[in-house]
């Protein structure tokens, strides 16, 4: 017989049991289970958010600085301004910049030759592709290529060349249009700016110069590539269709998904394996919940027998315990989500604090021990710029992942509760009521 308010009374009883745990002097098992879930969710959200931060940082750096969202290889050597205007008029296009990449060797006054990719761009790059400058992050001098034979280079490259803003460096390249006429050329460039994008490879091997300045380094027959940035990079297929309809199918545009496929695939793999490993937490948490609910069922076997004897079906009693698991999963998961988000958002402050605390502690210990041993003091910094290439931990919280993690935790606890609730029918009420 199905009763309309069956769920109502089951929730009433389960809620009471869940709350009763808190009054219990022997802090309730439900409480510990909920804490277990919270810690799991917290850890997973924090780890994944930091991982996202690094990965998305990489991806953005790559797309914004070097590879663009869509590339068109034109067969031309001269910039086609009507093409640029036409493509700019497409709804999803944010910017378009023509460029030529050159492989060169660069040498500072006192350094060896270093390999360097020089990208030559228009002199008004800052207006044509403002995001490039934002991501490059010019820290010394400025991104100004208006004077002939000026160059902007990455900070790591500058350091290894021993060059600062205003210094000159020599660029060497092979110029000529056939092997026979190839001749080494060596031109002096003045460093106008130094950028520090945070992406080591670019900071150590990339430089920018103007079309005019790069002429001397080349055969003059290199063809242009147009780098296009989109407002929504996931609508690349539509935009490519729009572009093709304007410029004809000849020089086919290529999307970022294609020329970065293996790298992005690797990033995704990395993330999935991390999720799986951290997800093992929930296996542990699930087992823990099952044990605690087993105990809860055992502790309440008198109640169970009594409920049965006054007209509760075995299924209803089971549902009470499943509901308890549900409440554990929900409350634990919610607390985990809230604290996980809090920690993720404040991770840099927390690291700073941890660094400060470790520092203080070490100095304190140093002072206490100073009569006996001489401990040199060095400052702790968890993310010291001198150890790590980044001086800030990037964090990116993705809503659907948080939801997924919560769902994981919730499911784990409900499954555990379900398996523990099976114990309810393992004893008959008459035995319990009889012997206690």
């Amino acid at each position: 017989m199905l009763k309309k308010n069956k769920i109502e009374w089951i929730i009433f009883v389960a809620l009471r049991y869940f709350k009763a745990g808190k009054r219990d002097r022997s802090i309730s098992t439900a409480f510990f289970s909920a804490v277990g879930i919270s810690v799991g969710v917290l850890a997973m959200i924090t780890i994944i958010s930091i991982m996202n931060g690094f990965q998305i940082g990489f991806i953005d750096d790559i797309l914004e600085i070097n590879s663009y969202h869509i590339r068109i290889r034109s067969g031309e050597m001269e910039v086609d301004n009507t093409l640029i205007e036409n493509i700019k008029s497409i709804e999803n296009v944010k910017s378009i910049l023509p460029f030529i990449d050159l492989q060169t060797l660069v040498k500072g006054s006192y350094s060896d030759f270093k390999a360097c990719k020089i990208r030559s761009v228009p002199v008004n790059t800052e207006t044509q592709d403002p995001d490039l400058l934002r991501y490059l992050n010019v820290t010394r001098g400025e991104f100004n290529l208006k004077k002939v034979n000026t160059i902007v280079i990455g900070s790591e490259l500058a350091a290894s060349l021993g060059a600062d803003v205003g210094d000159t460096v020599s660029l060497a390249s092979m110029a000529g249009d056939s092997f026979r006429s190839l001749a080494p050329v060596d031109i002096q460039f003045t460093v106008e700016g130094i950028f520090k994008s945070g992406y080591y490879e670019y900071d150590s091997t990339m430089g920018f110069t103007s079309f005019q300045s790069s002429k001397g380094l080349t055969s003059g027959k290199e063809t242009l590539t147009y780098g296009i940035k989109l407002k929504d990079r996931y609508k690349d297929a539509e935009t490519i269709r729009d572009i093709s309809s304007i410029i004809g199918a000849g020089n086919c545009p290529v999307s970022w998904r294609e020329y970065n496929r293996s790298f992005f695939g690797a990033l995704r793999m990395e993330k999935i394996s991390m999720m799986l490993i951290v997800g093992l937490i929930f296996l542990v948490v699930g087992v823990n919940i099952k044990h605690s609910l087993d105990r809860s069922v055992y502790k309440r076997r008198q109640d169970i027998a009594l409920l049965r004897s006054v007209g509760a079906s075995p299924g209803a009693v089971k549902t009470i315990f499943v509901t308890e698991g549900l409440l554990i999963g929900f409350s634990g998961g919610l607390i985990g989500v809230i604290s996980g988000l809090f920690i993720s958002v404040n991770i840099n402050n927390i690291f700073a604090f941890a660094g400060w605390a470790a520092d203080t502690l070490s100095r304190l210990i140093g002072r206490i021990l100073s009569p006996f041993v001489n401990i040199p003091s060095y400052g702790f910094s968890v993310f010291s710029p001198s150890y790590f290439y980044l001086n800030k931990v990037p964090v990116k919280i993705l809503f659907h992942e948080v939801l997924l993690i919560f769902f994981f935790a919730f499911t784990a606890s409900v499954c555990a509760a379900y398996s523990a609730a099976g114990k309810v029918t393992e004893f008959t009420p008459s035995e319990i009521l009889h012997y206690e």
Binding site: N5, E8, F12, L307, V310, L433
Partner: protein
């Protein structure tokens, strides 16, 4: 007079390891509506076993039990659940109450469980607690009450679904004389007022005398006293 319980050829054998323990041997009895039957017998004679069989908490080895014309011994789990919520009210020796629930909630819960609206069940529970003299203790938890008070709560609870049959297994076995007397009085008065049939198991011969019919269980059989 119409019969509420018909028991025929009832046997109960407990199989514990190697030996079989035959507790009930061929019980045959029919019990009229609105009577109060008291059952005495020495410890271990099988009194609780008999009540458990009638309430469907345990199953007989052989024989049949009919309550209100329904065979209890062959009911499935769903039928038993309905049967226990609507047809019998149980009172145990150790006044089993749910410790996490107040007096009012303990009484109201079987009503709530059986499909009554919560407000309605609470109202009825309040009326019954008033009848057993506990209207002041509605929000008290079992551990805040005396043994006698708890047993009165259990009596009120047995009546919440207005069952035809009350099964009481040594309801005063754990109480002092004064409390026993009070619970007994309340129980018999309620049975009278609400026109219930009661089976009451007890050690107390004075209490047994209050039944309209008295029987003794010995060697697995029931004798009229």
């Amino acid at each position: 007079m119409s019969k509420i319980i018909e028991i025929a050829g009832l046997h109960k054998v407990y199989r514990t390891g190697a030996e079989d323990l035959s507790v009930l041997n061929d019980i045959n009895v029919s019990i009229a509506k609105n009577c109060s039957l008291t059952i005495t017998g020495h410890s271990g004679s099988g009194k609780s076993t008999l009540l458990n069989l009638i309430s469907g908490l345990d199953f007989p080895t052989a024989g049949s039990i009919e309550v209100n014309g329904q065979r209890v011994d062959s009911m499935n789990e769903v039928e038993l659940t309905t049967y226990r919520s609507f047809y019998v009210g149980l009172i145990f020796q150790f006044h089993y109450l749910l410790n996490d629930f107040t007096a009012l909630e303990n009484v109201m819960l079987p009503g709530y469980m059986s499909g009554q609206k919560r407000g309605f069940a609470e109202e009825r529970a309040f009326e019954l607690l008033k009848e057993v003299g506990l209207e002041e203790r509605l929000d008290h938890y079992p551990l805040q009450m005396s043994g006698g008070e708890r047993q009165r709560v259990a009596v009120a609870r047995a009546l919440i679904n207005d069952p035809d049959l009350i099964l009481a297994d040594e309801p005063t076995g754990n109480l002092d004389e004064k409390n026993s007397k009070m619970v007994e009085d309340i129980l018999f008065a309620l049975i009278e007022n609400h026109q219930k049939t009661m089976l009451l198991v007890t050690h107390d011969l004075n209490l047994a005398e209050r039944g309209t019919r008295q029987m003794q269980l010995e060697h697995g059989e029931l004798f009229e006293l």
